[in-house]
């Protein structure tokens, strides 16, 4: 063994934050996502949205449950990129394909807005309320709005996915909630005791 010595040479995670939100008893398998390539080609938008749906269903129990409740379809139209995809769901599977099915409601907005929703930087409801995404329905049905909202939810990543869990903040919030609950409980108990006292 030779220890090489300087003397011989005189020259000198990213643990994603809120994955803990996944609730184990909601861990039943969610719908399977299929990205259709009917024409032998798949657009970047279909691939990206399909993979986001797949990843979210895998990672987040709440989105998995909502996805399994959805029935019907929604069209996503990126108005500034001439890209249109249709997402269909039947509880067991979700199919993403290029093109528009005219029977389904259409969520239309800028590509950046969809990217912001998909990445968790913007809530889908906020985007609709701010008219950055519009909902157009062939015939207005309450179910269409629910379906569109549901797809927006399943497609979106919680903001907290990109943040470190702030446990100190959580402990403060939890303490405030516990104190508030205790106060409400105490007030309720006092009211009941007063009533009982008056009855007696």
């Amino acid at each position: 063994m030779v220890e090489k010595s300087l003397m011989n040479f005189s020259d000198g995670n990213s643990e994603p934050g809120d994955r803990a939100l996944s609730i184990s008893d909601l861990s039943r398998p969610g719908p399977k996502v299929y990205i259709s390539n009917d024409n032998g080609k798949t657009s970047g938008m279909a691939t990206m949205i399909g993979e986001l749906l797949e990843a979210n269903i895998d990672s987040f129990a709440t989105r998995r449950v909502v996805a399994s409740l959805l029935k019907g379809g929604v069209v996503l139209k990126a108005s500034d990129r001439a890209q249109i995809i249709t997402i269909e769901f039947d509880g067991k599977s979700i199919t993403v394909r290029d093109g528009q099915n005219p029977d389904y409601p259409t969520l239309e907005g800028g590509w950046l807005t969809f990217a912001a929703v998909a990445s968790g930087r913007k809530s889908p409801l906020h985007a609709i309320r701010a008219r950055e995404i519009s909902l157009k329905s062939p015939k207005f049905k309450m179910g269409d709005s629910i379906a569109a909202g549901g797809v927006g939810f399943v497609m979106s990543v919680p903001k907290s996915f990109y943040e470190t869990v702030n446990w100190s903040k959580r402990i403060i919030y939890l303490s405030i909630a516990l104190v508030a609950a205790s106060l409400v409980g105490y007030a309720f108990y006092s009211l009941r005791r007063n009533k009982m006292h008056h009855k007696a």
Binding site: M1, E3, L6, G44, M48, A55, A115, S119, R121
Partner: protein, 536 residues
Amino acid sequence: MRESYDVIIIGAGHNGLTLGAYLARSGLEVLVLERRHEEGGGLTTEELTRPGFLHNVHANYHTFVDLAPPVKDLEIREHGVKYVRPEVQMASIYPDKTALVVYSDIDKTCDSISRFSAKDAATFRKLFNEAHGYVDLLLGTLMFEPPMSVKELTKALSVFGVGNRSEFLSVKLRRETINQFLDEHFESPKVKAHLAFHGAVCGYANDIVGLAIGFPLLVGKINNWHLSIGGSHRLAHALWRDLANHGGVLVTDAEVASVVVDGNRVSGVRLADGTEITARKLVASTVSVEQTFLEFLDRDKVSNDLVSNELFEKIETEIKHQSWSLFSVHLALSKLPHYLAGEFEPDVDKAWVVNLGYSSPEELNDDWKLIRNNQLADPKPNVAINSLYDPTDAPEGSYTGLLRQFAPYSIGSLGPGAWVEEARHYGEKCIESWRAFAPDMDAEAIIDWTTYSPHDIATKLPNMVKGDWMMGEISLANMLDQRPLPELGNYRTPIEGLYMAGSTQHPHGFITFAPAYNALSVIAQDIGLDQWWKKV
């Protein structure tokens, strides 16, 4: 050498030395153990042909200079490494004696491409500008960070809005081959052949599904190839100097026989001569997964709860290696080659690297099929004349040359040992194929030459299993957190304090420094090290 250190690193390749230097700079007592007589691993420069002719036996192209954080953090240049970025980086010469040239100047490159297709020149410029613009982002998210999963990558690309801003970058690339990417964007078979060959030289075979996802990054640094003046080994020496300057110790001729485990935790290593050395904090292996788990660990003594039999079996059977290797001919030359294609493009004679013969990606596809079937393809080597840009690597008035040919590890059913008989003959064929493009490379011009086969690679550096110079297949299934196996994909192992920090890990081989740099992040997190280095 003392009896105990904070950190023991197995293997003094560029990853082992890089990790050692960072940890030594962090105030830890570091010991790096090397089986061979010198540090460097793939950073080997030897006088293979004649005295005074310096040949880079393995790593020749340094493409991450100025991009990889260790170059600055470890003051590589201050330790004496000098890089040159050749003005004429690479050329492809086609059988009809036309030639395409890539310069360090992208305008000149586009002019050269436009001689084959004006549309492709415009597309290349757009692709380069986009990819180059995203290089920092891609380096930060894909190279110099512990790996994310492909699904997380999808989200990250969305967060950065890459898909929205780019005509070329998209998550759908994970379903495409480089060939498909090239067909989608380019029209000239010769331009496509050049780009496909460039990918292959970087380890990315053009016919493997999923590798299109890494291709834009390769294009983004297509003009960033650097040559280490005086040989690639200078970098290894500089890394060692940094290690030593900060109190780290390198011991050569020290073959590790076993990694010692005490309960759930690694406690040190035992050398082949029986010497035991204690590791107070950690052991990091930069050699192969097979060596680390199947040779260094005593399977009978490691609890099944710690490393399951299933994991041992997966390591035995499921580690993926490149299905092709490299055959090299190292030459001592009395004159520089003059190519017939010089009439079409005089700058080919100044090109550091010249690719010979492929005029379409399909021809490359055909050769992959042969090579994966353990057959030797008709040679179409790439030729590097380092002396064009490094006059110190050969005696005055003489030059070094390197022919590299894609080749199988085993030949037919004869196995890798058949290279001992075949190497000289195949070397002659490589030289003949070169001579067809540069007739002046006759017997008088070639003072001496020797071969270096896939079998030689595996024999000299056993961590390059089956001549796998990338230390693991380059494929989507063996990328990011799946490399080398999902269970070992984040530099940690099931044994507390035992880390994997070599090119078996994300991202891959080549002189990237990235496996060590990323393992460092994980180690820093685990042992609570103050991070003095600036993140990408």
